[in-house]
Assembly symmetry: C2
């Protein structure tokens, strides 16, 4: 459902120039749960942003659901992301002026689509957010903000879910709820789950692990166990 | 070096009202490395902010280095924090318009103090930031931003270091460097280290663990082993 072919991405100029991705090729299939691991600064978030069309590549191409997104116009990219992609950002990226509930339904509002109330209630219950829906981001703990970001990405039932360290701010119990939810999304709803994590326990929920190092793919692990 | 006596903290009004801390008493001694653990939303960040004088309490009192800070003026609080406290925020709180180096030396600049160049070089080398000093926060990975926040808190050699999930965005190797640095700061420099973490491995570096739940102290663990 998502494929990168030989993608290269360089940032900056002169003394901030960094080769963040160096000829990376990787494919993610429908219903597959992949964990991406690697040292801090190895290019994981950059890879995720390029695969989701949030950033452009300097060489190579990216395809989502058999559509080549490299070279697509901003308008078409936005429409594709809105209907097919959910993204849980490493820094959450919540809208500070909206409360938790409005942050969560924002993608649907922007698409002019209705909220599936049952699914909304299920996600909120699983993530323990029922009594925080009217709080704004600054009135939430770090882990609560992270869970709002998770709910926002899952509510639209997108074909592909990108999760950039989705349990980084969570205790083990709350983290397990998030991982179980992502795992069910892959197995029962056939979604493609691509999760960056530093936590080997989180990676053990995945079907396979892709290892990055210095902007390149170091290797793969099938069926990881913590 | 830091003591909280029966502190209570309530946030919000009406439907956002939350009793974040409920009669919490805890003492931290010089040279002691304490980990604070507990579920997401249990009050850890709130406790840290109240202990550091970044937020006021509604009842009880807080003392830092035998000075009662409850009721202190903003000016006096700012001076005390600047000379005695280093804080690594859960969301990093870096200045977006300054590069990494300027973010790290900012507290010293504001205090009109000189940078100890040897100590600066040591910290930068240990945290692997030497080739990122001219990058601005948006040009850094999540883990690199976190390490800049760690460097900023340690450069001034404060009597008390508050670390709110200082390894949340780091891979295990980089995280181990940060934990070893904090541990050395306690043992060799006699600093008081107070670290919030969700990671039992990180907690194992501490001399003891304080457990929070629903705004109250659930218990203590001495000499934790992962
Ligand atoms: N300004 C605010 N208004 C209302 N409630 C708030 C406000 N700030 C924090 N809270 C609430 O206080 C509680 C404690 O928050 P705190 O940030 O201390 O939790 P935490 O233990 O650090 O959690 P995490 O592990 O998720 O970071 C949370 O339930 C949060 O929703
Ligand atoms: N705008 C930019 N300009 C210059 N360099 C950049 C920019 N954005 C990212 N980088 C660099 O690209 C590299 C890869 O960053 P990326 O955020 O993908 O790492 P990561 O693997 O997600 O790390 P972490 O685990 O710390 O989140 C880093 O070394 C970073 O400094
Ligand atoms: Mg990252
Ligand atoms: Mg917190």
């Amino acid at each position: 459902a998502v494929a990168a072919q030989n993608i290269t991405k360089t940032f900056g100029t002169d003394d901030t120039k960094v080769a963040a991705l160096d000829e990376v090729s990787v494919t993610f299939r429908p219903g597959e749960f992949t964990a991406i691991m690697g040292p801090s600064g190895s290019g994981k978030s950059t890879l995720m942003h390029c695969l989701a069309g949030l950033d452009t590549v300097d060489a190579g191409q990216v395809a989502v659901n058999s559509t080549v997104i490299t070279g697509m116009s901003d308008n078409d990219l936005t429409k594709l992301r809105r209907s097919h992609i959910g993204f849980i950002f490493q820094a959450f990226n919540l809208v500070p002026t909206l409360n938790a509930k409005d942050n969560i339904v924002l993608p649907l509002d922007l698409a002019g689509a209705k909220v599936d109330q049952d699914w909304f209630d299920q996600i909120i219950a699983t993530l323990g957010l029922a009594d925080r829906l009217t709080h704004k981001p600054h009135q939430l703990s770090g882990g609560q903000q992270q869970r709002v970001a998770v709910a926002r990405a899952l509510l639209t039932r997108p074909a592909v879910v990108f999760a950039d360290e989705p349990t980084g701010a969570l205790d083990s119990n709350t983290g397990a709820e998030v991982l179980a939810l992502l795992s069910r999304s892959a197995r029962e709803m056939g979604q493609t789950i691509i999760m960056v994590t530093h936590d080997p326990h989180a990676a053990s929920y995945a079907d396979r692990v892709v290892l990055l190092k210095d902007g390149g793919v170091l290797g793969h692990l099938e069926d990881p166990t913590a």
